[in-house]
Symmetry: C2
Subunit: 316 residues, 2 copies
């Protein structure tokens, strides 16, 4: 198996039949036809062993992850993901490993109607870079910077399970497979939901570094604060059972790797937003707090909640 064979195998694994791709993978570049009412969205992210995932996890999860993290960025823009380019670098070629990688990559690509339009394989350090293009209807994208005082802070899905799963994998329990390890290995980017949320949200980000840190990215830069009731953070029941509520809240608040969406909704749009979303998706959405003019306040119900420094250290 040579580098070129990898590209061929990748091509064969994809359902590439999109009319808007005039020239696909295999030339110096790709050619895309664009609708003139739309704007192009581009995102790009790399993953590499030890930094973004532990060495030795299954190849399928790595292939899946390389695209999933980019899909999640696209979701956070409210964009429709369409065209992917993959740079694939590995030190040596193991056909079974590559088969697994392709299974993971093409699985999530095909599920999301993504067309692979470009690729490059090289023998080098283990890393995978995807650049993903898509579109939004004119000016219908959501940035990190639009939150206003009084907006409600929402989170999709559940938080904390992926960070706990990562800890299980790192503690040499990699043979173990359960809901927690799966939450880390196969996060589900919220692309369909992102497009719907974009009709209501004032700011949006995906949660990769951890809810608390990612929330700061939509407040700090624009001089805002927040008040969050951590008892309202959405946490899977089995995580609370496994860890106690107190400990699972820490994973939800600081753990990261959730790839859920965090976004802000003006209060007068809340019921309309919840109505539309509940008719379109089974995913849960939790209101966990409110944007404030300054300060970052955490509560646990009626009580104040302190963020101990050692928790940050634990998750660094």
């Amino acid at each position: 198996m040579k580098e070129a064979d990898i590209i061929d195998a990748l091509k064969d694994s994809m359902h590439q039949s999109q009319a808007d791709v005039s020239l696909s993978i295999g030339d110096d570049g790709a050619i895309i036809d664009l609708d003139h009412n739309k704007q192009m969205v581009t995102v790009t992210d790399a993953i590499t062993a030890d930094i973004h995932y532990p060495v030795g996890i299954e190849a399928e999860a790595i292939g899946y992850r390389s695209l999933a993290v980019n899909l999640s960025d696209m979701a956070a823009m409210g964009g429709v993901a369409k065209w992917a380019n993959l740079v694939f670098s590995i030190p040596s070629i193991n056909p079974d490993w590559i088969k697994g990688f392709i299974k993971g990559f093409s699985g999530i690509a095909n599920q999301n109607n993504i067309c692979l339009i470009g690729g490059d394989t090289l023998r080098g350090p283990e890393f995978f870079t995807v650049s993903l293009q898509g579109y939004v209807e004119k000016d219908q994208y959501i940035t990190r910077t639009g939150a206003k005082v009084g907006d409600l802070i929402f989170v999709s899905g559940c938080l904390g399970s992926a960070a706990y799963g990562l800890e299980l994998i790192k503690n040499k329990k990699s043979e173990l497979r359960n809901d927690f390890t799966d939450a880390f290995l196969y996060p589900r980017p919220r692309n369909n939901e992102g497009i719907l949320i974009a009709k209501y949200a004032t700011a949006m980000i995906d949660i990769s570094d951890g809810f608390f840190i990612d929330l700061q990215k939509i407040t700090t830069h624009v001089g805002l604060g927040f008040e969050v009731d951590v008892s309202q953070l959405p946490i899977a029941g089995n995580l609370t059972n496994e860890l106690t509520l107190n400990k699972s809240v820490k994973y939800a608040l600081l753990g990261g790797d959730d790839y859920e969406l965090c976004f802000t909704i003006p209060p007068h749009l809340e019921s309309q937003f919840l109505d539309e979303l509940s008719s379109e998706t089974n995913l849960g959405f939790s209101c966990v707090g409110e944007i404030k003019g300054s300060n970052e306040v955490l509560t646990f119900g009626d009580k104040s909640y302190d963020l101990p420094n050692h928790m940050f250290e634990h998750f660094k």
Copy 2:
């Protein structure tokens, strides 16, 4: 200096003021306005130490190269390069090194009016991935697959100097700087010329692996052959002086890293093509042969020219 500082320094080094960039670097993605008469072109390429350049070359050349190889792919499509995303991975942060990298990257970016719309920095193995978007007027792109029997084979600029320069650098003469090492360290992608050539060419590719191998990429896949007179290959006078004509032809034929354009022109368009190009650019264009229905024939003037296997090995 932290990862985020690198992105800020990169942003500051760029002349980013393009009206078609609605949202630039710093969010989950970027937003681009597209003209509806155009098609989007995307290219993506990674470079990494030891594979694409020798360990230890100056940081400025690495920053320059990361974008230059992508610009060259864009040139080979006949596209106008516009928007770049950079994934920047290094094992440790040396501010002087980063300053050099940014100087090289922003130098060639600003020279080509490229806008940096996305970036990601990480601590990991040394690699740099650029994905570059641009456009062509509708259907005005050139692929690798359009050559026809009888088309003339042209090459831009001069070949061979970069490969010889790479050899000098590898032979621990890295302190040496001359035209040859510069040809390797700072190749000049032919973007302005690529756009003009696209009006005439039937197929085009940029020369990265070596003229002979890259020419095969526009003939073999479509079942064609060629006849090339290697005495017509464009070679800088100082390379011939340094190496003898015979040896410099080998570098020109097989060396690679030239980032010149190889393209095919229908014979009836030749004089019009040469007239327009000579009025628009000082770069030389050499006709080195012709597309044939089958076989790959090399001559040196009137004599036949053999491609010895050991030459291939030398350049692997």
